[in-house]
């Protein structure tokens, strides 16, 4: 296999005596669709926070395209192509989608430093923002304030903002969280139609979706990686059955 786009080695993190990440070793090759699954509290979101720099690891290294990014802040990691979305909508309520996505593009292009020309002068940035929004079916609502959008549309805008940064690796934290089944189809069409150049790692609880979208699956339990493999390997593994079904018998 070629050099992985994103990899971690020996990643540890604990809050006091609570170990949330222990010796995490993953390597994501380019263009692969990874699902990250595991019971609640397994440390999935923590892992995303560690990889994107929202949390500092106690030990270990994070490499992006052969470069050690462990010491970089979240902004620098985004500029190098490691981008995330949030499980709970983290948007700009009083900006409309057009403004929000244009903002992300302007920051990427370093246009955001200029203050003497109107935003509308940067037609290429606006065109690109619109085409990102259109690809996620947000074109018709692009001038409505974000807080007025339907919940499902806000989830799509989460992805639109991330795409506007031109990611190499996209980490989606429960992209369909809170979206009713019948409405989540749009979202997953959007995810499947993402460019094959982008490596995607997504957290998802709905196993049907996981098995449909992911080409490989990572299972986490108690801050550790239990195993990694293809969907077939995962569904056949007795340990995974125990984690999920075993937990269910107690519930």
């Amino acid at each position: 296999m070629s050099v992985p786009v994103l990899s971690t080695s020996g990643l540890d993190k604990s809050f006091g005596s609570l170990v949330v990440a222990k010796n995490i070793e993953i390597a994501l090759p380019r263009g692969v669709r990874y699902a990250l699954i595991g019971p609640n509290g397994a440390g999935k979101t923590t892992l995303i926070n560690l990889m994107t720099g929202m949390l500092r690891p106690d030990a270990g290294r994070i490499m992006l395209g052969g470069e050690d990014i462990t010491a970089l802040g979240p902004e620098e990691r985004v500029r190098r192509g490691l981008v995330r979305t949030f499980q709970i909508n983290s948007l700009f309520p009083h900006l409309n989608p057009l403004e929000a996505v244009t903002l992300a593009i302007c920051e990427r292009e370093r246009i955001a430093r200029t203050w003497w020309r109107p935003t509308s002068d940067y037609r290429a940035a606006v065109d690109e923002a619109y085409s990102v929004l259109e690809s996620l079916m947000l074109g018709p609502v692009c001038t409505r304030e974000t807080r007025e959008l339907a919940y499902g549309q806000q989830r799509l805008l989460e992805i639109a903002l991330a795409l506007a940064t031109r990611p190499k690796v996209l980490l989606l934290d429960e992209p369909a969280a809170g979206v009713p089944r019948e409405e989540s189809a749009e979202l997953f069409t959007a995810i499947t139609s993402l460019s094959q150049d982008i490596t995607v790692l997504f957290i998802e609880h709905d196993m049907e979706l996981v098995f449909r979208l992911a080409s490989r699956i990572i299972v986490m339990v108690g801050g550790r990686i239990l195993l990694e493999g293809t969907p077939d390997e995962i569904s056949a593994d007795p340990r995974v059955r125990e984690v999920y079904l075993g937990g269910a018998t107690h519930g």
Partner: protein, 346 residues
């Protein structure tokens, strides 16, 4: 793209319209000339309103747009005021260069301060700016050899503007001067908030965490806008010094920081005109109430504030915008607030 779809044209039109002037804006600026004709006896008050409006504008840029709270903004106002006074006292009474130097001096102070400011938010910012304001007030108080301390700075003497227009007792030159500077800096601010930089500032206000997650240079944006805001505040302070030819410790008072915050919230933060409208209403109300009852004039001001915040949580302009944007409002006043038809060249 050679062919633009109608939908994307709509997106461009939307952004274009944000920049265009509206009839109501032109009416507003024409109305600022009225005091010369209608109330020539109140030009001193009018020039003080213009100074306050400029100060409020500077606060709006950081608070209304970037969401940076400040309870010590008088520090920059006062720094500009004292700088202008000292330049004059030390023998250089030319107003325009004095104004420029005072603005830059306040801007330098703001720039140094911005390295601390850009690291904090919300409550921490209130404490830091409050402490910074008090610190500067006490410094000015104790350095009475330079500032004159509690007695105020004596011996400020301004030369005539352009060598021709003396700052008279009736405030005629003062109002022209303050109004033109206000208008010019308003134009700069208006351009700034409609730029990609202005968009980023609103992003910081709306969601600082998300700004990090899209790779934004938030800290450098905050440093920049804080410096610009400090320059404008310093210019406002300098105009006050130059038009009144005195500087008192009051320019650095906590009361002034609090007042300007109140004025901005009263008018409506994040709307550029909010500070201007707030300054007009607050200053006229204060002038009027203190005439009616010199001892307890803060009482009706308090009532006014509570009333506005209760019934118009987004300030006077926020309330008006709601009326204008309603269907009925659009029919009656749409022509006032619609973007003017002229188009910018592409």
């Amino acid at each position: 793209m050679a062919v633009t779809s109608p939908a994307i044209a709509g997106a461009h039109q939307y952004l274009d319209a944000q920049v265009r002037w509206r009839t109501i804006e032109i009416v507003f600026w024409l109305a600022t000339l009225l005091p010369f004709v209608v109330t020539p006896d109140y030009l001193v008050l009018a020039s003080q309103i213009a100074v306050t409006a400029l100060f409020a504008l500077s606060l709006d840029l950081i608070l209304g747009y970037a969401g940076i709270v400040s309870l010590g903004h008088a520090a920059f106002f006062g720094f500009g005021a004292y700088t202008a006074g000292l330049i004059s006292k030390w023998g250089w009474g030319e107003p325009l260069t004095g104004l420029l130097i005072s603005g830059l001096a306040a801007g330098l102070l703001g720039y140094l301060m911005s390295f601390i400011i850009s690291r904090f938010r919300h409550l921490a910012l209130i404490m830091i700016t409050l402490g910074f304001g008090l610190l500067l007030h006490e410094l000015a108080n104790s350095a009475s050899g330079i500032t004159g301390g509690a007695d105020g700075l004596q011996g400020v003497k301004m030369w005539p503007l352009f060598g021709a227009f003396k700052f008279d007792l009736y405030g005629r030159t003062a109002y022209w001067y303050a109004l033109i500077v206000l208008f010019l800096l308003f134009l700069v601010s208006r351009r700034l908030i409609n730029s990609p930089f202005g968009l980023s500032l609103r992003g910081i206000r709306e969601n600082a965490v998300r700004m990090r997650a899209i790779g934004a240079e938030s800290r450098s944006h905050i440093r920049k806008i804080y410096t610009i805001s400090a320059i404008i505040a310093g210019v406002a302070g300098a105009i006050l010094t130059q038009t009144t030819e005195t500087v008192s410790l009051g320019v650095l008072d906590f009361q002034r920081s609090a007042d300007i915050l109140v004025i901005l919230i009263l008018g409506g933060a994040g709307r550029l005109y909010g500070g201007l409208i707030g300054a007009i209403i607050y200053m006229i109300a204060r002038d009027w109430f203190s005439g009616v009852n010199p001892q307890y004039w803060y009482f009706p001001i308090g009532v006014l504030l509570i009333g506005v915040v209760l019934f118009l949580p987004n300030g006077i302009l926020g309330g008006l915008a709601q009326i204008v944007n309603s269907e009925r409002g659009q029919r009656c006043t749409g022509w006032l607030t619609a973007p003017l038809p002229w188009r910018r060249r592409p």
